[in-house]
Symmetry: C2
Subunit: 134 residues, 2 copies
Protein backbone atom coordinates (compact mmCIF):
# COMPACT_ATOMS: atom_id res chain seq x y z
CA UNK A 1 0.00 0.00 0.00
CA UNK A 2 1.04 3.53 -0.55
CA UNK A 3 -0.20 6.94 0.35
CA UNK A 4 -3.68 7.64 1.62
CA UNK A 5 -3.98 4.01 2.44
CA UNK A 6 -5.85 4.64 5.64
CA UNK A 7 -8.62 6.66 4.08
CA UNK A 8 -8.77 4.28 1.18
CA UNK A 9 -8.87 1.24 3.41
CA UNK A 10 -11.57 2.76 5.58
CA UNK A 11 -13.71 3.70 2.63
CA UNK A 12 -13.38 0.37 0.93
CA UNK A 13 -14.17 -1.51 4.10
CA UNK A 14 -17.18 0.57 5.01
CA UNK A 15 -18.58 0.42 1.50
CA UNK A 16 -18.17 -3.29 1.52
CA UNK A 17 -19.83 -3.67 4.90
CA UNK A 18 -22.69 -1.54 3.68
CA UNK A 19 -23.58 -4.42 1.39
CA UNK A 20 -24.78 -6.58 4.25
CA UNK A 21 -24.80 -4.40 7.35
CA UNK A 22 -25.78 -7.13 9.75
CA UNK A 23 -22.99 -9.49 8.95
CA UNK A 24 -20.12 -9.59 11.41
CA UNK A 25 -16.66 -9.46 9.92
CA UNK A 26 -13.34 -10.23 11.54
CA UNK A 27 -10.26 -8.12 11.05
CA UNK A 28 -8.73 -11.19 9.45
CA UNK A 29 -11.41 -11.35 6.78
CA UNK A 30 -11.14 -7.65 6.09
CA UNK A 31 -7.36 -7.75 6.00
CA UNK A 32 -7.31 -10.60 3.54
CA UNK A 33 -9.85 -8.77 1.50
CA UNK A 34 -7.81 -5.60 1.47
CA UNK A 35 -4.51 -7.34 1.01
CA UNK A 36 -3.08 -6.17 4.29
CA UNK A 37 -2.64 -7.16 7.91
CA UNK A 38 -5.29 -7.74 10.61
CA UNK A 39 -3.48 -5.46 13.02
CA UNK A 40 -3.40 -2.67 10.49
CA UNK A 41 -7.11 -3.15 9.93
CA UNK A 42 -7.81 -3.02 13.65
CA UNK A 43 -5.77 0.15 13.94
CA UNK A 44 -7.74 1.94 11.27
CA UNK A 45 -11.12 0.54 12.24
CA UNK A 46 -10.40 1.40 15.85
CA UNK A 47 -10.42 5.05 14.86
CA UNK A 48 -13.76 4.59 13.18
CA UNK A 49 -15.11 2.92 16.30
CA UNK A 50 -13.93 5.81 18.44
CA UNK A 51 -15.91 8.06 16.13
CA UNK A 52 -18.96 5.89 16.54
CA UNK A 53 -19.08 4.59 12.99
CA UNK A 54 -18.40 0.97 13.86
CA UNK A 55 -18.81 -1.39 16.76
CA UNK A 56 -16.54 -4.28 17.59
CA UNK A 57 -17.02 -7.35 19.74
CA UNK A 58 -14.41 -9.52 21.29
CA UNK A 59 -14.43 -13.24 21.67
CA UNK A 60 -15.32 -16.23 19.68
CA UNK A 61 -18.00 -14.81 17.43
CA UNK A 62 -16.58 -11.32 17.58
CA UNK A 63 -15.79 -8.91 14.82
CA UNK A 64 -16.86 -5.63 13.30
CA UNK A 65 -20.17 -4.19 12.26
CA UNK A 66 -21.56 -0.84 11.17
CA UNK A 67 -22.84 1.19 14.09
CA UNK A 68 -25.20 3.20 11.89
CA UNK A 69 -27.06 2.82 8.69
CA UNK A 70 -24.86 3.35 5.62
CA UNK A 71 -26.85 6.40 4.59
CA UNK A 72 -26.05 7.97 7.94
CA UNK A 73 -22.30 7.72 7.52
CA UNK A 74 -20.76 10.44 5.39
CA UNK A 75 -17.30 10.62 3.91
CA UNK A 76 -16.66 13.55 6.20
CA UNK A 77 -17.33 11.33 9.19
CA UNK A 78 -14.71 8.92 7.94
CA UNK A 79 -12.20 11.60 7.07
CA UNK A 80 -12.53 13.34 10.40
CA UNK A 81 -12.47 10.05 12.29
CA UNK A 82 -9.06 9.25 10.83
CA UNK A 83 -7.81 12.57 12.08
CA UNK A 84 -5.73 13.33 9.03
CA UNK A 85 -5.72 16.88 7.89
CA UNK A 86 -4.75 16.98 4.28
CA UNK A 87 -4.34 20.61 3.38
CA UNK A 88 -4.27 22.57 6.61
CA UNK A 89 -0.82 23.42 7.86
CA UNK A 90 0.21 22.71 11.39
CA UNK A 91 0.17 25.62 13.75
CA UNK A 92 3.89 26.26 13.83
CA UNK A 93 4.78 29.28 15.84
CA UNK A 94 5.73 31.93 13.36
CA UNK A 95 9.18 33.04 14.37
CA UNK A 96 9.44 35.81 11.80
CA UNK A 97 10.60 39.03 13.32
CA UNK A 98 8.85 41.13 10.71
CA UNK A 99 5.21 41.80 11.46
CA UNK A 100 4.35 42.12 7.80
CA UNK A 101 5.71 38.64 7.31
CA UNK A 102 3.76 37.41 10.24
CA UNK A 103 0.57 38.83 8.79
CA UNK A 104 1.25 37.15 5.47
CA UNK A 105 1.87 33.87 7.22
CA UNK A 106 -1.46 34.21 8.93
CA UNK A 107 -3.18 34.87 5.64
CA UNK A 108 -1.75 31.77 4.02
CA UNK A 109 -2.68 29.63 7.01
CA UNK A 110 -6.15 31.08 6.98
CA UNK A 111 -6.65 30.33 3.32
CA UNK A 112 -5.51 26.75 3.78
CA UNK A 113 -7.85 26.33 6.69
CA UNK A 114 -10.74 27.57 4.57
CA UNK A 115 -9.85 25.09 1.87
CA UNK A 116 -9.80 22.31 4.45
CA UNK A 117 -13.23 23.30 5.67
CA UNK A 118 -14.63 23.36 2.19
CA UNK A 119 -13.19 19.89 1.63
CA UNK A 120 -14.97 18.57 4.70
CA UNK A 121 -18.14 20.26 3.57
CA UNK A 122 -17.87 18.54 0.22
CA UNK A 123 -17.18 15.19 1.88
CA UNK A 124 -20.23 15.56 4.07
CA UNK A 125 -22.44 15.58 0.99
CA UNK A 126 -21.79 11.95 0.18
CA UNK A 127 -22.75 8.96 2.30
CA UNK A 128 -21.34 5.48 2.28
CA UNK A 129 -24.61 4.27 0.88
CA UNK A 130 -24.17 6.60 -2.07
CA UNK A 131 -20.64 5.38 -2.64
CA UNK A 132 -22.00 1.91 -2.87
CA UNK A 133 -24.32 3.51 -5.29
CA UNK A 134 -26.99 2.68 -7.77
Amino acid sequence: MKRNSRLSLALHTLSHMAGSPDRMRTSGDIAEHAGTNPVVVRRVLGKLREAGLLTSEKGHAGGWRLARKPQDITLADVYLALDERMVATDETSDASACSVEHALHERVSGVLKEIEESLVQKLSETSIAEVRGV
Copy 2:
Protein backbone atom coordinates in the same frame (compact mmCIF):
# COMPACT_ATOMS: atom_id res chain seq x y z
CA MET B 1 9.00 21.74 8.56
CA LYS B 2 6.42 19.03 8.58
CA ARG B 3 3.72 17.85 6.29
CA ASN B 4 2.53 19.87 3.36
CA SER B 5 5.72 21.83 3.56
CA ARG B 6 6.05 21.99 -0.20
CA LEU B 7 2.66 23.51 -0.76
CA SER B 8 3.16 25.78 2.19
CA LEU B 9 6.58 26.88 1.01
CA ALA B 10 5.31 27.51 -2.50
CA LEU B 11 2.36 29.53 -1.30
CA HIS B 12 4.37 31.62 1.09
CA THR B 13 7.03 32.32 -1.48
CA LEU B 14 4.60 33.27 -4.22
CA SER B 15 2.56 35.45 -1.91
CA HIS B 16 5.70 37.17 -0.82
CA MET B 17 6.89 37.68 -4.37
CA ALA B 18 3.53 39.12 -5.26
CA GLY B 19 4.45 42.07 -3.06
CA SER B 20 7.02 43.37 -5.53
CA PRO B 21 6.65 41.28 -8.67
CA ASP B 22 9.56 42.84 -10.55
CA ARG B 23 12.17 42.17 -7.95
CA MET B 24 14.48 39.27 -8.63
CA ARG B 25 15.04 36.93 -5.72
CA THR B 26 17.69 34.29 -5.30
CA SER B 27 16.98 30.87 -3.87
CA GLY B 28 19.33 31.83 -1.07
CA ASP B 29 17.20 34.81 -0.09
CA ILE B 30 14.04 32.77 -0.22
CA ALA B 31 15.55 29.90 1.70
CA GLU B 32 16.77 32.16 4.47
CA HIS B 33 13.38 33.74 4.55
CA ALA B 34 11.64 30.41 4.81
CA GLY B 35 14.12 28.91 7.21
CA THR B 36 15.22 26.20 4.85
CA ASN B 37 17.81 25.33 2.24
CA PRO B 38 18.45 26.92 -1.18
CA VAL B 39 18.44 23.53 -2.87
CA VAL B 40 15.08 22.69 -1.37
CA VAL B 41 13.75 26.01 -2.57
CA ARG B 42 15.02 25.37 -6.08
CA ARG B 43 13.42 21.94 -6.04
CA VAL B 44 10.02 23.32 -5.22
CA LEU B 45 10.28 26.44 -7.35
CA GLY B 46 11.52 24.33 -10.23
CA LYS B 47 8.15 22.64 -10.31
CA LEU B 48 6.44 25.99 -10.40
CA ARG B 49 8.66 27.04 -13.27
CA GLU B 50 7.79 23.90 -15.20
CA ALA B 51 4.18 24.88 -14.78
CA GLY B 52 4.88 28.36 -16.08
CA LEU B 53 4.27 30.20 -12.84
CA LEU B 54 7.82 31.40 -12.35
CA THR B 55 10.86 32.17 -14.43
CA SER B 56 14.42 31.71 -13.34
CA GLU B 57 17.68 33.12 -14.68
CA LYS B 58 21.10 31.73 -14.20
CA GLY B 59 24.30 33.61 -13.67
CA HIS B 60 25.46 36.52 -11.67
CA ALA B 61 22.29 38.57 -11.46
CA GLY B 62 20.05 35.56 -11.70
CA GLY B 63 17.18 34.48 -9.56
CA TRP B 64 13.45 33.99 -9.58
CA ARG B 65 10.52 36.10 -10.64
CA LEU B 66 6.81 35.66 -11.19
CA ALA B 67 6.00 34.67 -14.75
CA ARG B 68 2.48 36.06 -14.52
CA LYS B 69 0.60 38.67 -12.62
CA PRO B 70 -0.35 37.56 -9.09
CA GLN B 71 -4.02 37.76 -9.94
CA ASP B 72 -3.43 35.29 -12.76
CA ILE B 73 -1.96 32.61 -10.52
CA THR B 74 -4.50 30.52 -8.65
CA LEU B 75 -3.97 28.14 -5.78
CA ALA B 76 -5.02 25.36 -8.11
CA ASP B 77 -2.13 26.25 -10.42
CA VAL B 78 0.25 25.88 -7.51
CA TYR B 79 -1.30 22.70 -6.22
CA LEU B 80 -1.28 21.04 -9.61
CA ALA B 81 2.24 22.25 -10.35
CA LEU B 82 3.53 20.45 -7.28
CA ASP B 83 1.96 17.27 -8.53
CA GLU B 84 0.77 16.12 -5.16
CA ARG B 85 -2.60 14.48 -5.17
CA MET B 86 -4.01 14.63 -1.69
CA VAL B 87 -7.14 12.55 -1.78
CA ALA B 88 -7.04 10.57 -5.01
CA THR B 89 -5.74 7.06 -4.67
CA ASP B 90 -3.11 5.71 -6.95
CA GLU B 91 -4.35 3.54 -9.77
CA THR B 92 -3.39 0.22 -8.29
CA SER B 93 -4.46 -2.66 -10.43
CA ASP B 94 -7.41 -4.21 -8.68
CA ALA B 95 -6.44 -7.83 -8.26
CA SER B 96 -9.80 -8.89 -6.85
CA ALA B 97 -11.14 -11.93 -8.58
CA CYS B 98 -14.72 -11.05 -7.82
CA SER B 99 -16.25 -8.68 -10.33
CA VAL B 100 -18.59 -7.22 -7.74
CA GLU B 101 -15.55 -6.32 -5.70
CA HIS B 102 -13.92 -4.81 -8.70
CA ALA B 103 -16.95 -2.66 -9.37
CA LEU B 104 -16.99 -1.44 -5.78
CA HIS B 105 -13.32 -0.62 -5.97
CA GLU B 106 -14.02 1.43 -9.05
CA ARG B 107 -16.81 3.28 -7.29
CA VAL B 108 -14.60 4.23 -4.37
CA SER B 109 -11.84 5.38 -6.68
CA GLY B 110 -14.34 7.37 -8.67
CA VAL B 111 -15.67 9.11 -5.59
CA LEU B 112 -12.19 10.00 -4.44
CA LYS B 113 -11.38 11.38 -7.85
CA GLU B 114 -14.49 13.54 -7.74
CA ILE B 115 -13.46 14.86 -4.36
CA GLU B 116 -10.04 15.67 -5.73
CA GLU B 117 -11.58 17.55 -8.63
CA SER B 118 -13.82 19.52 -6.34
CA LEU B 119 -10.80 20.44 -4.26
CA VAL B 120 -9.00 21.74 -7.33
CA GLN B 121 -12.12 23.64 -8.32
CA LYS B 122 -12.19 25.28 -4.93
CA LEU B 123 -8.51 26.12 -5.13
CA SER B 124 -8.97 27.71 -8.53
CA GLU B 125 -11.28 30.28 -7.00
CA THR B 126 -8.49 32.01 -5.12
CA SER B 127 -5.51 33.79 -6.64
CA ILE B 128 -2.17 34.58 -5.10
CA ALA B 129 -3.13 38.24 -5.20
CA GLU B 130 -6.16 37.45 -3.09
CA VAL B 131 -4.08 35.51 -0.61
CA ARG B 132 -1.93 38.54 -0.20
CA GLY B 133 -5.23 40.17 0.28
CA VAL B 134 -6.83 43.40 1.38
